[in-house]
Amino acid sequence: MMLRTEPFVVNIGPQHPSSHGLFRLRVTLDGEVVKDLELVLGYLHRGIEKLAEGRTYTQNITLTDRLDYLAQMTNNWAYVIAVEKLAGIKVPERAEYLRVIIGEMMRLSSHLCFIGFFLNELGAYFTPLFYMFRDREKIIDLFDMVCGQRLNYNYMRVGGVSHDIPEEFVPALKRLLDEMPRLIDEYEQLLSGNEILLARTKKVGILTKEKAINCSASGPVLRASGVKWDIRKVDPYSVYDRFDFEIPVGSVGDVYDRYWVRVQEMRQSVRILKQALEQLPKGETKAEVPFLLRPPVGDAYGRIEGPKGELGFYLVSDNSIAPYRWHVRPPALLNLTALRELAIGWKLADAIVIFGSLDTILGEVDR
């Protein structure tokens, strides 16, 4: 007897435990197998790019906090780099080092969040998430110490940072850095060799090198596919050329590699932070910048290696106090474009895990 079957359309989201914000996946299922998958974006659109055109260059820093809300200060950083390029401002050395320190701490915090949520998507009952949040909390306490905020920091300024770090910051960070490698080892012991994790992630959702480059993926997603591309090395900004660190590269490009690359990056971040603390010079933390900045007519593209990939800001100035055009290159959106191709043919559970492994933050995708 032949049974009549028909595809089964399931909406995952906009409200769903693993949608990382407001996001809808329209999945066509054949039993458990994903036959087709459609991304429905825009639930979190706030018109930030348009809003920015009506605000001054300094006011816009606070808007960048609202993009990727798990890595706020790297957004600040990419934006101020673009403005500094546009206006030709030289940043004091101490400010550059502070930016590197803050940026690498942000990367640690963002990757910790990734591992926690990723394991939750794999079905671990919140345990890794709580461990990761315990450690993220320590980093956030340090941010609190630096700028008095815990979520929307608004710390970077055009020409430097808003104010110097307090005295107790450096010893506290050193304590954290001494502790961090041990904690990462502990997580790797629990997670990286876990049979179920390996069964769920190895060879699942393979993004080949060519496809990764074609869909203009960046960051850990690109590096997991075996492309050695890190803006910190290939186009060093700030003072990254003074540090000694490696770029972890995956070999297969599966979900496991994306997870593994991020864990290794955390170790490298700790390495960079240690060197930055040793080299941290004394001096000014902010260049003299006029209150109402009027950059000369022109355009500039500032980019950094954010925790999620190449984060870029494209600014056009018409010599007024507000940018004429303010455009973001969000790594999460461009990485997300690979999802459809990756998820088709896998089970529903895999589609969720592949989506999680791309580390998407919807605040950045929809803007």
Binding site: F8, V10, H16, P17, S18, L29, D30, G31, E32, V33, V34, K35, L119, N120, E121, L122, G123, A124, Y125, F126, T127, F130, Y131, R134, L190, N194, E195, I196, L197, L198, A199, R200, K202, K203, V204, I344, G345, W346, K347, L348, A349, D350, I352, G356
Partner: protein, 369 residues
Amino acid sequence: MTVMEQFRNWLAGAMPDWAAYILAFIVGVVAILIFALVMIIVFVYIERRVVGRFQVRLGPNRCGPEGIFQLIADAIKVFGKEDIVPSKGDFWVHFLAPIVTFVPALMIFAVVPFHRGAVFTDLDVGILYVVAISSISVVGIFMAGWGSNNKYSLIAALRAVAQAVSYELPVVLSVVGVILLTGTLSLNKIVEVQTIPLFLLTPLGFLIFFLGTMAEINRSPFDLLEAESEIVAGYQMEYSGMKWVLFYMGEYGHALAASSIITTLFLSGWKGPLLPPFLWFLIKVLIVFFIFMWARATVPRLRVDQLTAFAWKCLLPMALINLVLIAAEVIWFPEMLPWMMVVVNFAVAGVLILLWSRLFALGGGRVEV
């Protein structure tokens, strides 16, 4: 003679036989219900606190000393909820599903020996009864998934059926090993016959039974029916208020029943030195439940095809080999020293597990569409 029979005879001295029979029956049922419900509450409390500790947090500790009244607060909240039936759902199927899921968990306790002779009915086919009753609850889950008219629930319902069909076989085969060793189907006699705990004599059977039961009661890592990251709440999606509580209690009721059965079959039930037998029974049940909690707090979830593959390719062949091994030992070496048997069976179990972990790897699984 069991405690129930003694009680009935004692009552029969004062009243007609039929009245004694009914009264003894009611008293027994009430006692078991109280035990099961109290233990379910204790389990829920313990799980919330212990999993909290696993997750570097405290767990509920505000309501009463050490948070023991938290459940009462939760219960009051849940009783006040509106009972919602999906407008396009099947009312009767939706209504009956929680009952069909919860009641079998309680029915299992009819044959569980809690103490020396303390068993509600000492059925001669106790194990068959347990196997039969424990597979009814999956019907309730399927009814819930079907009657809710919700796509997530339907996926969960189909997964439930696949899971139950796959794991029933290895579980039953490993139970046959126990029957061969003890020579009886009555749970009461199985405990009495066990001079050393059976998990030592049949380690592989114990492991298979443990994993299979974990899958049957949908504990993590086999909790695909309520896989939050995929199908949100699964079959419980459209349930609220009292019906949802029945599912919740059913989940812990099945965990309690499974722990009791594992204790009875493999951990020599109420037997133990010094402490009173009933206390030993409780301690062993809690140890088994602790391992359930431990697994839940530690490991991620398997995928649906890996789950069934694990049952068919891993547990089932091992259960068959285990059965043949025990049958051979029972037939050809009946006077084999128990400790000799322990050594041989542990060695065989170790070799088999090593072999399977080398030969058999889960993973991959893309389907061309």
